[in-house]
């Protein structure tokens, strides 16, 4: 009960200051940090795809300009831009940087993500023994100079639990695979038996086909989600805001995953699809609270939504980060990594981007409604 009273008090003291401060304090800091990280890592590559980048930037400039024009209208009528309107710039800048990253990635590697063997063809060997990955990669590479081999560490609760070896073996060449397996047993500093590792091999045609399919599945998922959102709210701007938030979540998460050099597997794709569902929960909560609640002003509606929404995200974050640290199974680990990044990105996209657009929309509508 105490808690409720407190809440009431805060809402009654209708001061925009406290709210702005609150917002500055929590999500902004993280976002700025991310922002800088993106900047640092991306800058050197930018030249290569100048043209593409220009196009994208142009597209977004146009959009931003449009928004600016819209935003400026009420400003001309009345007071200067509010803080939340300025804050709106942050998610957009990050989104643009993320798109730049993905374009650079596509231009340099010919692929917008790093695919692991399950999406490209080749074999993945997961060894559940503590072996130094760098050394193993070197000795394997020395033994098989014509193969592209990547050895990564597999962690459990911060400690190494094993290694994951990715190698481009043609599934139809049985001898290659057998000799690689034998070579691994030979060079491994720790004695290995068949029970110490799993091998997954994917044919390159199936891997490629699979990759295309999941990309199509993702587009279909996104469109379906958009249809549901439109059907649900029957209101253009709020629906677009929700869809934009989901889009930004995926694109920015993808860019961060790329920067971290994570090789995405089939399970990772599932995580991205899950992210669509997850990130949208808070957006729907926000839009519903803002659009369907009659009492109090928009600001406090957003605030009440934020209270619920942050709890939602933090419980999920708690579960996801526990799973991330404790799990040893590579597919689960990857799903959790992507969700972890995605949920943090979603904090920004829901509570700055979506909330900002919605607040601007609702306040304007309110005025129009009065006049």
């Amino acid at each position: 009960m105490k808690h409720q009273e407190k809440l009431e008090n805060i809402e009654n003291v209708d001061s925009s200051k406290t709210e702005e401060e609150e917002r500055k304090e929590t999500p902004k800091k993280e976002n700025v940090a991310e922002n800088e990280e993106l900047f640092e890592k991306k800058e050197p590559k930018v030249e290569i795809i100048k043209e593409k980048k220009k196009k994208k930037k142009f597209f977004f400039k146009k959009r931003e300009e449009k928004e600016k024009v819209k935003r400026e209208k009420p400003i001309k009528e009345k007071k200067p831009k509010k803080l939340y309107q300025w804050l709106l710039l942050i998610p957009f800048i990050i989104l643009i940087l993320a798109i730049v990253q993905i374009c650079v990635q596509s231009a340099t590697t010919g692929d917008f993500i790093y695919r692991d063997a399950s999406l490209k063809g080749g074999s993945t060997i997961t060894v559940y023994k503590v072996i130094e990955p760098g050394q193993l990669q070197e000795s394997l590479q020395a033994k098989f100079p014509d193969k592209s081999i990547v050895v990564k560490k597999l962690n459990k609760a911060g400690k190494q639990a094993g290694v994951i070896i990715d190698v481009d073996i043609d599934i139809n060449k049985r001898e290659d695979r057998d000799s690689f397996e034998a070579g691994l047993l030979e060079v491994s500093p720790v004695e290995l038996t068949q029970d110490d590792y799993d091998i997954r091999s994917m044919g390159s045609t199936l891997g490629e086909g699979f990759f295309k399919e999941v990309v199509i599945a993702m587009v279909i998922a996104f469109v379906l989600m958009g249809v549901v959102v439109f059907g649900y709210f029957r209101n253009f701007v709020p629906s677009i805001a929700v869809i934009l938030a989901a889009f930004s979540d995926i694109v920015i998460t993808l860019a961060i995953v790329n920067i971290l050099g994570i090789r995405i597997s089939i399970a990772g794709i599932a995580a991205f699809l899950m992210l669509i569902g997850y990130s949208i929960d808070t957006d729907i909560l926000l839009s519903t609270r803002v659009l369907k609640t009659k009492e109090s002003n928009v600001k406090s509606r957003i605030k009440s939504a934020m209270k619920t929404g942050l709890t939602m995200t933090f419980t999920t974050l708690a579960a996801v980060s526990i799973a991330f640290f404790v799990s040893t199974a590579p597919p689960i680990k990857q799903i959790m990594t992507i969700l972890l990044i995605g949920l943090i990105v979603d904090l920004m996209n829901t509570w700055i981007q979506n909330a900002g657009i919605l607040r601007w929309f609702a306040e304007r509508k309110f005025k129009h409604g009065q006049s």
Partner: protein, 579 residues
């Protein structure tokens, strides 16, 4: 007590309880499992003759017949089972018994199985003279009248002397697994085993598809592996695949057996005598007529020669007679054993494999027993013997089942260690439980009310249970990604419960009626639900159904949440918060 009554008399809560009961029924877990479950009974085997039934395909794990005892050996797990078989085998060899009656006690019945010994007959090189006395009717003329009388006539027969040694006992002909503790099926990555995805080179109609699946099943059955699951899958584009899952860990052999078209031909002077499959009536698998004969060193490798006998159809035997009739008899290295001028050549998938000389006394005879030989190499004798054994099994399987009409390409093959699978499962269960605790902790920090955080925790556990029940009921396999789906679905569930709790608490302050608050909460929940479904739905088809398990558990999980557990949760919270 009043509150408890209010909770448990509510329709929504009762509905949830009914579903929990159904899930319990579907999973039917037991705490203690003892014995080994019979998963397969070979046709014509000792077990089959004794009346042990082969379980129908797709039978629930808990409905399998469980062996509790073999003779005096109690069976608790697979290790006990193999130990018992070994002990019986040993006693048969020690006492040189010609047969052994074994009593198998299952949870359903008591079977008496007659097992024959496997006997090796070796010629000593000596001959024994045996007097064989036969009774014959002899007609004699006594005193001018014919009298038919029985008379014993003794003949001397020269026979090769043999020594019989009992090598062991005949196979029981069943496959077993540790008796399952519930109806939940573990995916191949958790159970350990091999998963192979094959793609036909040309499109197949349903008839050919089921024919190929049947052939593959027969081939794998011949290997004597534990559990086989073969099914047809398609992807978004409609490409056909055959997915084969086999427990037991010999990926190489499985892949070999499936990727081979297995067109076996025996030719004499370029005329086909018989082909694998339709012309083969039987393949001898006992050690009398199928074994490794000798091993010898060549360079740094060891060669082992093996042979096995097959019985061919009478028509093929007739062809053999016709072809050999025209051949000449020529002398061979062994002067006492002349051979025919042409050899019999064996081809596998149009590649020449081996030739055999034909003994001269077979000329023009419709011989139905054919000896097939071959050799395998290895770096030491053990390896050469293992390779020979694998090759014998492989060839026998191919000969018995015939060729697969279409070339099948291996497009994916995964091998999972059963030990690691077990670890991964335990780890994931731990992850799930810790996550639930973590979520409950955050909820408690936020609401500071046990009346909310405890129901949230219980609801999460119930949701997990309902998903598992659903999976057990439909016989879905739970793999790692599906388990991730369960964690995620319950995570979404928590989100919704927070919405309910918040809507209830803050709405109260706004003097909204209970109904409006719940209505608003469910508006959000349904919206979130529909978008989640939209996001996951396409995964049912993408990628030859590899993410089907994930899509399935997520969609089932969120649906159960929205339709069953969340309405009940709303009710429970209402009562607990004294509305």
């Amino acid at each position: 007590m009043g509150r408890a009554k209010k909770i448990f008399t509510n329709g929504r809560v009762i509905l949830m309880l009914i579903f929990i009961a159904l899930a319990l029924l579907a999973i039917s877990p037991t705490i203690k499992t003892e014995g080994v479950a019979i998963t397969f009974v070979e046709k014509g085997s000792a077990a089959d003759i004794a009346g042990i039934q082969k379980p129908p395909g797709g039978a629930n794990p808990r409905s399998l017949e469980v062996i509790k005892r073999i003779d005096n050996y109690f069976i608790a797990d697979e290790a006990d089972y193999f130990a018992a078989i070994k002990a019986i085998n040993k006693s048969v060899v020690e006492n040189q018994l010609s047969e052994k009656v074994v009593v198998i006690t299952t949870n359903k019945k008591l079977y008496t199985v007659l097992l024959e010994s496997v006997v090796d007959e070796k010629r000593t090189g000596e001959y024994v003279i045996k007097n064989i006395t036969t009774e014959k009717n002899v007609t004699q003329i006594i005193n001018g009248s014919k009298v038919v009388a029985l008379e014993n006539i003794t003949e001397e027969v020269r026979e090769a002397e043999t020594i019989k040694t009992v090598l062991g006992i005949q196979n029981l002909g069943i496959r077993v697994v540790k008796a399952p503790g519930s109806n939940l099926r573990k995916g191949i990555d958790l159970a350990g085993g091999v998963r192979v995805l094959l793609q036909p080179e040309v499109e197949l109609d349903d008839k050919n598809m089921s024919l190929i699946i049947k052939i593959m099943e027969n081939r794998l059955n011949h290997l004597g592996l534990a559990n086989i699951n073969i099914r047809k899958v398609t992807n978004i584009k409609g490409d056909q695949f055959i997915s084969v899952e086999v427990t037991g860990f010999n990926e190489k052999q499985v892949v070999n057996l499936l990727s081979q078209q297995g067109k076996f031909e025996a030719k004499i002077a370029n005329q086909t005598v018989f082909v694998g499959g339709k012309d083969i009536k039987n393949v001898c698998t006992s050690s009398q007529c199928s074994r490794i004969e000798s091993c010898s060193r060549s360079g740094n490798q060891i060669f082992c020669n093996y042979f096995f006998q097959v019985t061919i159809s009478p028509e093929s035997a007739q062809r053999f007679a016709e072809i050999t009739e025209k051949l000449e008899v020529i002398p061979s290295e062994d002067p006492t054993n002349p051979v025919l001028s042409e050899k019999i050549d064996f081809f596998l998938d149009d590649q020449y494999e081996q030739s055999l000389s034909i003994s001269a006394d077979l000329k023009g005879k419709p011989e139905t027993t054919v000896r097939i030989t071959g050799s395998a190499i290895g770096k030491d004798e053990d390896e050469a013997r293992i390779n020979s054994r694998d090759e014998i099994q492989n060839l026998q399987a191919i000969l018995l089942t015939g060729s697969i009409p279409v070339k099948m390409n291996i497009v994916q093959s995964d091998a999972f260690s059963p030990i690691l699978g077990k670890e991964a499962l335990n780890n994931t269960i731990l992850v799930g439980l810790l996550s639930i605790l973590g979520v409950a902790a955050i909820i408690f920090i936020r609401f500071r009310k046990l009346a909310i955080s405890i129901p949230v925790m219980i609801t999460m556990l119930i949701e997990v249970f309902l998903i598992l029940g659903f999976a057990a009921f439909f016989g879905w396999e739970l793999d790692l990604v599906a388990l991730a789906g369960i964690i995620i679905a319950t995570g979404t569930g928590v989100d919704d419960q927070i919405v309910i709790a918040d809507e209830v608490l803050t709405g109260k302050k706004r003097f909204e009626s209970w109904k409006t608050r719940i209505k608003k909460a469910f508006f959000i929940i349904i919206g979130a639900y529909l978008t989640t479904i939209a996001g996951i739905f396409p995964l049912f088809w993408a990628g030859a159904g590899l993410l089907k398990g994930f899509a399935f558990t997520t969609i089932v999980g969120v649906s159960f949440g929205v339709l069953i557990t969340r309405p009940a949760f709303a009710r429970i919270v209402k009562v607990l918060l004294k509305e």
